[in-house]
Amino acid sequence: MTDLTTPAPARKRRSNLQLLLANRLAAAGLFIFGFIVILALLAPILPIPNPDITDQPNRLLPPLSEGHLLGTDHLGRDILSRLIWGTQVSLLVGVSATALAAFFGSLIGLVAGYARGATDSVLMRFVDMLMAFPYILLAIAIVAALGPGLLNALYAIALVNIPFFARNIRGVTVSIRNREFVDAARLSGKSHAAVLFTEVLPNVLPVIVITMSTTVGWMILETAGLSFLGLGAQPPTSDLGSMLGQARAQLFTAPHASIIPGIMIFVLVMSINLLGDGVRDVLDPRLRSGTLGRPMPVTRIKRSAKPSLTLPEPPALVVENLSTGFDTGGSITPAVNNIGFRLDKGECLGLIGESGSGKSVTALSLMGLVASPPGVITNGGVYIGGKDVLSLREQELIALRGARVAYVFQDPLTTLHPLFSVGDQIAEAVLTHNPIGKRRARQRAIELMDTVGIRDASGRASAYPHELSGGQRQRIGIAMALANDPDIIIADEPTTALDVTVQARILELLQNLRRERGLALLLITHDFGVVAEVCDRVAVMKNGEIVEQGETQTVLRDPQHDYTKRLIACVPELGEGRNFLDRVRPLFPEAKA
């Protein structure tokens, strides 16, 4: 059955309300909105004067006059009373318009999304046409045709808001109609109408509620606007908008008569907007704006103990007792735990482990690139040329990135900027550390592309990442890393997104560059085959810790740790065929079945 018609709706609703009240702004909105609604509903029994009784001698009394708390208007009518009655009208019209728009818009959206095909195109073209009008102008045309009046304004505002509902609801319906429970209902012999209203509708309902709660304030504003222009409520009926419109003539002599209804509209709409945002957050947490923090330029460093600032006689890179974790609201979940390794000039160290073992976090920690929040470096030191980079000031650390230590990332389609040409991206890397002028940087970029084996480099330089093949893109990533002749390249699964033949060529390229330039290479991978081919030494990671490290040949020949044995066994060999699983299975007791 459907997700939302399952039992215990009562309990669920209560928890939604609790969630809503936990949001302080939404709770404030609910409180103010509730207060206004109650006041408006109680209008007939409140001890207030008749809103339509005129009293010429007492016209335009200021607020706090005797008997008239908020003063009187140009006909001597009591403003407080008119405000309460007017709020009632405005609320009624705004809510009715929302209900109408929601009903017809959702109906169109449901039918279009469920039927698809010609019905869908016709309905949605019609909706697009409505949307092609500047919002309020169509409403004005409709009021012009039907004649000014509150009811006509209501129809007009409802009509111009139908597209919002139709579009939102259609989108959700399309994604739901192909789900299994809908197929099941159809196969069980239910009619289309029954499927639509008993299976699809309940799942679309939250979206309808969200759209209503986010548009109702707007519709109150717009109907008030039409009344303000004299196109909505006609005397003797008046809503907040027409109160404001009539008082405008006395703006200079009696501003309170305009300001009071204006503030009322503002407060009403704001309370609804606050409430609407809260409802949206509760019903669809994914739409919540900016709940995830934005990553800072450098990972937060909060080390319990300061390591020594320098190392004597250092190799290219030393990592000591490095720990990195993720701040999950108060406590820190460790991802990398007290690891250490070293990397000499011209050497290649493989960091191997399964996904989630912490190898990428390790790689990113070295230059403070772990997304933060939530990332935190909690311990240890990273020594490049003997100096602890985690003790550097932010600007100094940033200056090292790309200059002494460069990265090559996994999936170059998402890691290259989609809107800049690849030549520009490489040239930018050059210019960042070496201001040689745009033209020379461009030349250098083309040379680099040539170095990494891109044919017709000067032609391809103006291509965008999406116009290149996966292998070419990764070569661009490598060219960018080479831009400033770094000492160390950290390659994070550089070949994982590529097919096998391309993978071999990229590895060969990295090998050659390393030999030619004496680069130190930290290669992160999950593939022991790659390690065996490229790395001098290897460190094996599991659950955020290094369980074994040593010369590649030694580790391969005589692995000490169980986990290493498994990883090595998992490299399939050509011609081994179906014996592979038989060989590997005993190493994984948890996969006996």
Binding site: I140, G225, F266, G402
Partner: protein
């Protein structure tokens, strides 16, 4: 690129035709029989039939529509019976003033909204962010017609800084500085809602982009944080901000109706409101059609700008 623009232009034609159909249908909503209304007490069945034939009202709706659109295409929007002049002349004369007002508002809401959105995203959860969020909330909840009155009260009446109404001073005005002085209050009032919307969406777009992998690449290159934000992140966010600006063009064109009424700005909106109350329907029809067509073209411009920014969209 030229083929892309041509394609978009072609796609705009059915939309504009659709607009005209909707306007045509809306005019058919008018209650009562036009011939009856014209003839008043002379409405004998014979006379009604004759008038209907003369006005083409005895034909089917599709036929009427074709004749009507044919006339429109020749620039014949009919005559305003109140002003006693061709609708198109009046509409075009008024539309210039509206374009100045709406254009200025669009510039204000784009610049302020985008800046506020970026700052808000960069200083997420900080004080700047809270202040921006607070003003955005006020902006999108504020009735612009009320804000206009408040502005007049303070800036024009209380402090006497700026003129309260009109486009030019009655005496000695007419130059550009005079126009700008008259423009400040209505344009900023009109921009308030749109600024809130743009700021909100810019903030969301920036936060979304700042989590992307290519931003990490930019950081790994050693770019300064300013370059990361204003060059890399903003460029990518702009692709999703531009369509929003296109939509705001519609909001300021429509919102001009209120603002022109409040500030006595001699534009299309003020004309429309008057025309609705005098039931000058041909004038309403012409004004709405012209404004809607311009809106479609502005959105087309937004599409082209977006494609210029994002090479992936050109295909």
């Amino acid at each position: 690129m030229p083929t892309y623009i041509a394609k978009r232009l072609l796609a705009a034609i059915p939309v504009i035709l659709g607009l005209s159909i909707i306007v045509f249908l809306v005019m058919k909503l008018i209650p009562g029989d036009p011939a009856q209304a014209l003839l008043g007490s002379y409405a004998t069945p014979d006379n009604v039939a004759r008038i209907n034939r003369a006005l083409g009202l005895d034909r089917s709706w599709p036929e009427q529509y074709v004749i009507w659109i044919g006339n429109l295409l020749q620039g014949d929007f009919g005559r305003s019976y109140i002003l006693n002049r061709p609708v198109i002349d009046e509409v075009l004369e008024r539309f210039g003033a509206t374009l100045i007002l709406a254009g200025a508002s669009l510039v204000i809401c784009s610049v302020l909204g985008i800046l506020a959105g970026i700052v808000s995203a960069v200083r997420q959860f900080g004080w700047t962010d809270r202040i921006v969020t607070f003003f955005v909330l006020i902006g999108i909840s504020m009735p612009a017609f009320f804000l206009g009155l408040v502005f007049i009260l303070f800036f024009a009446v209380q402090w006497r800084l700026l003129p309260a109404s009109g486009m030019y001073a009655v005496y000695g005005g007419g130059d550009l500085p005079d126009l700008l002085r008259h423009l400040i209050l209505p344009a900023s009032t009109l921009a308030i809602v749109a600024t809130g919307v743009v700021a909100r969406l810019t903030r969301a777009a920036m936060l979304e982009v700042l989590r992307q992998d290519f931003i990490r690449t930019a950081r790994a290159k050693g770019l300064s944080e300013n370059k990361v934000i204003y060059r890399h992140a903003f460029r990518a966010a702009l692709v999703s901000i531009i369509p929003v600006l296109g939509i705001q063009a519609g909001f300021v064109l429509g919102g001009a109706v209120y603002i022109e009424t409040v500030f006595q700005w001699p534009g299309l909106g003020q004309m429309l409101v008057k025309a609705v109350s005098t039931r000058d329907l041909l004038l309403v029809q012409g004004g709405v059609l012209v404004a809607a067509t311009v809106y479609v073209l502005v959105n087309l411009l937004a599409d082209v700008a977006q494609a210029l920014l994002d090479p992936r969209l050109k295909a």
